[in-house]
């Protein structure tokens, strides 16, 4: 009897809780992670990780070097630290990819939005973007091709892929991928979608050029 009553009350409470869950609405659909709206006229830093210059058509992103990917291969160039794959990129960014996307549009970029998860073998489209990297004590602004070793030797050519909605949905945190990507905001058009997964190419940070693990860097995106 006692157990029966226990079960009854436990069941009653559980049903109440389930009923509550079923009846309530979800949160508003929008940006995921901490927003980092692009700022203008400030120095790029960890506190101001996304700085836009509309006149010069550039966006600067604050990031740090992940030394692991100067040894192991990766397909993630620059990822938001709060994203699902924040630890899997050569550069760990502190800028939200959605805000980064909107900043790209603000400087006049045209998103390609031509890839989906089912378009393997195709190339990303959109505005051409020059990507450079520098840090305190660096002798110059290095191009992405100079700081990344592409096993096929092709030069890295970024395009503004777009993918705003899919980027929010998947929240991988990708700002810049090393092969054509249906999720990353920008990606390398020199390699078709799926080439890294198919082991046709590998990317590693160039440890002869890049500073030590954890060093802050500034990644600059400029519309060509």
């Amino acid at each position: 009897m006692k157990k029966l009553m226990s079960l009854f009350i436990a069941g009653l409470l559980s049903v109440s809780l389930v009923g509550c869950g079923a009846g309530s609405g979800g949160g508003e659909q929008g940006i995921k992670g901490t927003p980092t709206v692009a700022e203008e006229g400030v120095e790029v830093s960890q506190e101001h990780p996304l700085v836009i210059d509309k006149e010069a058509k550039t966006i600067k992103v604050y990031a740090t070097v992940n030394g692991k990917y100067t040894v192991e291969p990766t397909r993630h160039g620059l990822n938001f630290s709060e994203g699902k794959y924040g630890d899997q990129a050569l550069f760990t960014s502190f800028a939200n990819p959605t805000n980064f996307h909107d900043a790209m549009v603000e400087i006049g970029g045209t998103p390609g939005n031509n890839l989906t998860p089912d378009t393997a073998g195709q190339q990303i489209e959109g505005s051409d973007v020059d990507v450079t990297v520098t840090w305190d004590g660096a002798p110059k602004e290095f191009t992405m091709s100079e700081v990344v070793n592409d096993s096929t030797g092709k030069p890295i050519q970024y395009k503004f892929g777009g993918n705003r909605e899919r980027s929010i949905e998947a929240f991988t945190g990708c700002l810049a991928c090393f092969d054509s990507c249906p999720v990353g905001i920008t990606s390398n058009s020199s390699h078709m979608q799926g080439e890294f997964a198919n082991k046709e190419v590998e990317f590693r940070g160039n440890k002869d050029v890049l500073p030590a693990d954890g060093t802050p860097v500034v990644v600059t995106f400029k519309l060509s």
Binding site: L12, E72, H76, K84
Partner: protein
């Protein structure tokens, strides 16, 4: 064995359960990182903390129950296998390359334990200390045979049940810590619950109108008689739903009704029935409590949150204590806790509310499992 020796042995055992699984996790992660497919989808460094969590749980369980065969990392051969195996794997997969050796293992360990405030050089020093300390602790552990088994003997069926529970928990923790997608899903679901669903639950219960407080009172009386939920859970909920004053009044009055019911059940049906309701040992404990504190027993018991509410009510019914004396003492004694819990319920922040409902769900599940186990054992017998 002196208490200081026992303390030292316990500490060594715990250290052993932390160091060796850390190294084992790192060795396995180093191997799995070689699969780019896995490395791009999983935080493999989290294998070490996952192993540590479960080694510590098993170690602690082993202090209570005789599960000694599960502490594999205490076996001499396994210790050497872990230490040498991990070292060899790390050397081979990093192709004996100095740069790789100083970057990849340290980076993996740092990501796994979220030691992002440390540089790779600092993690490398930590890693060397870990390896040396791991070897020394294991060596000492073997030498002094500090193996301390729990006193409680468990049946094969109970061992299987514990193993099953641990295996399920291991899979969940592993997926949560290692797979970012799973972790993100769980975190997002929790955040959504925290931000919206509590209010929805409140509205849902309030939509019952007058039936909401009646349901609450019935629950309170039922918990008094059959004790499946702590009374403060209902008091807290009433504070949240109806405010500190009305919720408190509802809790206080329904608890009074429950106490009176228990008292009269005990008085009318006597000790044999009460022993069946709350167990013989509990009734014996109440006898001692009433003998010790005499006429102040009820008031004292109500003021102490650790003393079961219904047990005292039943116990009072079995003594010569008069009803009104019992009733007034109960009313005064339970007032401070009722006011406190009702106020906490009303003012609870979102996160406290979440913790509260999680607590309720856990209690419900525990009751369901206990009832199921009891039923199974009865059927078995």
């Amino acid at each position: 064995m002196g208490s200081s020796t026992r303390w030292w042995k316990g500490l060594l055992g715990l250290l052993n359960a932390i160091l060796l699984p850390t190294i084992a996790g790192l060795g396995l992660a180093s191997l799995l990182i070689q699969s780019t497919w896995l490395d791009m989808r999983a935080d493999l460094g989290a294998l070490s903390p996952t192993f540590v969590i479960f080694a510590v749980i098993i170690y602690l369980l082993n202090q209570m129950y005789q599960l000694d065969r599960w502490t594999y990392w205490e076996n001499k051969k396994v210790v050497w296998l872990i230490l040498l195996g991990a070292l060899l794997i790390i050397l081979i997969v990093n192709r004996f390359d100095w740069d790789a050796l100083t970057i990849v293992p340290a980076s993996t360990l740092r990501d796994g334990f979220k030691l992002t405030f440390l540089t790779l050089n600092q993690v490398n020093i930590l890693l060397i200390v870990l390896l040396v300390l791991g070897a020394v602790v294991s060596w000492q552990y073997q030498k002094i045979k500090l193996h301390k088994m729990g006193r409680k003997i468990v049946t094969k069926k109970q061992r299987t049940q514990i193993a099953l529970l641990l295996a399920v928990a291991f899979v969940f923790v592993l997926l949560y810590l290692v797979q970012p997608g799973v972790r993100y899903f769980v975190n997002e679901a929790s955040a959504k619950l925290a931000s919206a669903d509590i209010e929805a639950f409140k509205n849902y219960l309030q939509s019952f109108g007058i039936w909401a407080p009646i349901l609450s009172a019935v629950l309170m009386i039922l918990q008094s008689v059959v004790a499946p939920l702590p009374a403060f859970v209902i008091t807290f909920a009433n504070g949240m739903l109806f405010g500190a004053f009305w919720g408190g009044l509802l809790s206080w009055s329904s608890a009074m009704l429950g106490a009176a019911l228990c008292y009269w059940i005990a008085r009318a049906l006597g000790r044999p029935v009460v022993e069946k309701l709350v167990s013989k040992s509990a009734v014996d404990w109440t006898d001692k409590f009433f003998d010790r504190y005499g006429k102040h027993s009820v008031l004292l018991a109500r003021l102490l949150p650790i003393v079961s509410f219904d047990l005292v009510s039943y116990g009072a019914g079995l003594t010569s204590m008069r009803f009104w004396g019992f009733f007034v003492a109960t009313g005064i004694g339970q007032a401070p806790a009722t006011i406190l819990y009702s106020y906490l319920g009303q003012t609870a922040s979102g996160s406290v509310k979440i913790l509260f409902w999680v607590f309720i769900i856990v209690i419900c599940l525990a009751i369901l499992i206990a009832a199921w186990k009891k039923r199974s054992s009865l059927l078995h017998n």
